[in-house]
Amino acid sequence: MQVTLLTIMEVILMPIVAFIIGLFMVLMMRKLAARLQRRVGPPLFQPLFDIVKLYGKQTQISHGMIHDIGIIMAVGGYVAAEALLPVPGMDGIAAKGGLITLAYLTMVPSLGLALGVGQCANPNGSIGISRALTSMLAYDIPFIIVIFGVAYQFSSTNLVDIIATQQAGGFSTWGISEMPVLAVAGLFAMHASLGKQPFEIYIAPAEIATGPMVEMGGKFLGGLFVMQSFQLYTASVLYVSLFLGGGENWITFLLKSFGVLAIPVVIAYLFPRYRTDDLVRLVWKWPVMLALIGIAFVMN
């Protein structure tokens, strides 16, 4: 009973922590973008203000029940996924799900968003979803090869074990030093999964009027904002857990997570956008090739 209660506490705490860190990640992203574009950038609490502002809008336009439920699924799916992602001192239900479950659970928010956008009956939104799912098909293939490599290397799909093994052995047993090629492929796939430039094909404001977001306003857009903070957090923390030994304590955990995220963000604001088929070709060529080579190293 004690254990169950503790787990429930952790399951409640972990998404809250994730949300706060996620907000700061959004801030970091904007700050980096601003610095690269020689601007000052937003103040510390701007992400939070944005969410409050969006929720506080007077007019809230809904296109139907599924539009609402889509936003709920998009936020709720990530809230649940955070309970599967260990942070220092808290494992949540990571041992009851594992790596594959986490990978598939993060598809729930995407599905929710896709359903919600679908009901808006706006072709721009639907085209955006078609592109988003296509890019998911592209980046998930190298991503899943990377997951295979890591799970095979540590002969477990349990993230808690994977992190514990890396921390016990120190830097030489970290994923990144055991499987450097896979780590590169993983970073590439993670970048594509974030949907930032040059892979922001499904937002594409100039072509399809921001795609999935075209009919989103007020708290609908606010929900997507919350989803984005969770998404940044999930991607970087998962990468840290797989390749950088997780967090020994909160300081190294935060340093690693923000550091990892900074790489795709910097690249994103330095490069323009790809076309859908270019993305598919690029992602299926380089990270898949790298990941397969990485696996060959792991399995020998």
Partner: protein, 624 residues
């Protein structure tokens, strides 16, 4: 007469009653209720699903000195449960209001019910078979019964049915050849004799027999490259019939393959057989066949514009997962394969019934002529949603659990490329089912569908029950894993160690109860944020939309459905070359050329010579 005989007798009576009374008004309900009685009779031997011992039928025949026997074990019970369950859902669905409309459009609902109950009976006979001879008899019965169901609609369905029967006959020949060889080697049709003699078979025998049986049974399963008949044959059947066929019919191939190839000949031997000039063993080859069976049909489904064909193509692809799981031969993977038989059957039944409901109201399954139905048919939408989440294998529905078991086994056994292949299949499924739900239920509602309503309760109730089963068995997979473990034991696998929520092992666990709890907790938080925060949202008309400065009117179609994945098709579109269709048609050409040549030879030039050649060859075949 024991409980098994009772079950088979009730099944026979059901088929007889629905056959004789097929013109009667109430025959639909009568069949559905009789199927329920069959289900209860099956439950009376439910000990088989919980590790009980084999039940032998009291009926024993001897034909030409060969004994024929029937029996039920854990595996038969598991498949019978799915068969009767799927038939019940389809039969109840078809019994009420649906039948009236079907009749008005010239169909005979009684005949449909008869065909379904006949299929159930023949399948039970096949599942109960106790030796190779009764297996073959059951096999042929099933083949012809399903043909009846396929050709019911007439027209194009007949063409697909004929195509099916050509494949099925070829498959049956292959099986018959296999059984002949076994009889030649062992002098008996009994399972036990084959199992005992199998250890003495030479490698050549093992290879030849396995290939003959896998090809023969694989035809029914739609295993590559014998899959071309299936999508059309299942899709063109009247709605509830499609649901039944799609859910279980082709799994009979898997069942027979499990019995003969996995259990009796023994797959262990196939690992030892190396294919010359490759690194592959015979089992690896079969696993790759399974992988391609997953990928190609799934991506063919992605291109379909008819909802029924889309689902039917997925049916072929999902069969590959079952094969893959079982070929892994370890407790986890084989449990995943067997569990997927159940999960997939529930998903496919729900999906086909939901699409049938859409067709009932809109008279079309063309994905480019639908859209926006969610406001008109919300419960059907819900059923389809549950079904697609299950089919795509996303938590929290049951399809995720079986696929998880297969993935985990592939990872731990160290098979990266096969793992990636299965995931590619899953991703393709996600894309394709989103297209399905988007083009039917989301997007813009067409003007002519403005006034349609939800389907009546006689159709909704079975759909909702199936959807509930999908959810509950996803939430507590242990309920089904009970039966799966018994089926594994019957097959001679080590049963999976499971819990109510999934599996618990040192190298990665799954607990769906916790996972679902947390997921729905998350949705609760999401809902609280959404409904609790901000002003109440105002519903607007679908044409109240951002259209880049244009005014939208109802007669303008403002819905994105055609060529849904344009970006992807731009890249992989060229890969669809119809290679298998080309192979099929070239085979047909060769056969017709040969028959044409012999006909010319026979009729016009040398009738005597032809007779001599045929006679010599036949003599050589029979005597030599």
């Amino acid at each position: 007469m024991n409980q098994l005989d009772t079950l088979l007798l009730i099944s026979l009576i059901t088929a007889l009653i629905s056959g004789l009374g097929r013109r009667h008004q109430l025959i639909g309900w009568a069949t559905a209720i009789l199927l329920t009685v069959q289900f209860l009779a099956l439950l009376s031997i439910s000990s088989l699903g919980y590790g009980g011992t084999v039940i032998e039928s009291a009926v024993n025949l001897t034909i030409l000195g060969q004994p024929l026997s029937w029996r039920f074990d854990g595996l038969s019970w598991f498949f019978a449960l799915i068969t009767i369950g799927a038939a019940m859902a389809s039969s109840f669905f078809a019994a009420g209001i649906w039948a009236k409309k079907y009749k008005k459009h010239g169909g005979n609902p009684g005949l449909l019910q008869f065909a379904m109950s006949l299929n159930v009976f023949t399948m039970l006979v096949l599942l109960a078979s106790g030796d190779l001879l009764s297996l073959f008899i059951g096999w042929e019965l099933v083949s012809w019964a399903s043909l009846l169901l396929m050709v019911l609609a007439g027209g194009i369905a007949t063409q697909w049915g004929l195509r099916y029967i050509v494949y099925a006959t070829a498959g049956a020949m292959s099986i018959l050849a296999g059984i002949g060889i076994i009889y030649h080697l062992t002098g008996s049709f009994a399972y036990a004799d084959l199992a005992a003699a199998a250890s003495t078979f030479s490698t050549t025998h093992v290879v030849v027999l396995s290939l003959l049986f896998i090809a023969g049974f694989g035809v029914k399963m739609g295993l590559l490259p014998f899959h071309l008949w299936q999508a059309g044959a299942y899709a063109e059947t009247p709605g509830p019939g499609s649901a039944f066929l799609g859910a279980i019919s082709s799994r009979m191939g898997l069942y027979a393959m499990l019995i003969v190839v996995f259990q009796l000949i023994g797959l262990g031997k196939m690992i030892a057989v190396e294919i010359p000039f490759t690194f592959l063993s015979l089992r690896d080859l079969l696993m790759w066949v399974a992988a391609f069976t997953i990928i190609f049909p799934t991506y063919t489904a992605l291109r379909q514009n008819d909802a029924r064909y889309l689902l039917a193509w997925h049916g072929i692809g999902q069969g590959g997962y079952m094969m893959m799981g079982l070929l892994l031969l370890d407790p986890v993977g084989s449990a995943g394969g067997l569990l997927h038989v159940f999960n997939y059957a529930t998903n496919q039944a729900a999906l086909f019934l939901a699409i049938t409901a859409v067709v009932y109201r809109t008279h079309t399954a063309d994905l480019n002529r639908l859209g926006g139905l969610v406001n008109r048919m919300p419960l059907t939408f819900l059923v389809l949603l549950v079904g697609i989440i299950g089919l795509a294998g996303i938590p929290p529905m049951n399809g995720f659990v079986s696929k998880w078991l297969i993935y985990r086994s592939l990872i731990i056994e160290g098979m990266p490329l096969l793992f990636v292949a299965t995931v590619i299949g899953t991703l393709g499924t996600i894309l394709s089912v989103y297209k399905l739900i988007h083009n039917t239920f989301l997007g813009q509602l067409r003007l002519e569908h403005e006034h349609i309503r939800e389907v009546p309760w006689s159709m909704l109730a079975p759909m909702l029950v199936v959807a509930t089963i999908i959810f509950i068995t996803g939430f507590m997979p242990g309920l089904v894993l009970d039966w799966v473990a018994s089926a594994q034991a019957a097959l001679g696998f080590t049963p999976l160690a499971y819990t109510l929520g999934g599996v618990e092992t040192a190298r990665g666990s799954l607990d769906m109860i916790w996972l679902c709890g947390v997921l729905f907790g998350g949705f609760g938080v999401g809902a609280l944020l959404f409904y609790g925060g901000g002003n109440k949202a105002k519903r607007v008309h679908q044409l109240d939309n951002y259209a880049g400065g244009h005014f939208l009117t109802a007669d303008t179609r403002y819905h994105y459905s055609n060529n849904f994945y344009a970006g992807l098709m731009h890249h992989i579109g060229g890969w669809y070359r119809g290679t298998f269709k080309w192979l099929e048609s070239s085979l047909i050409s060769i056969v017709s050329l040969l028959s044409g040549l012999t006909q010319i030879l026979f009729h016009s030039y040398h009738p005597a010579l032809f007779l001599l050649i045929t006679a010599t060859l036949s003599l050589y075949f029979f005597i030599g």
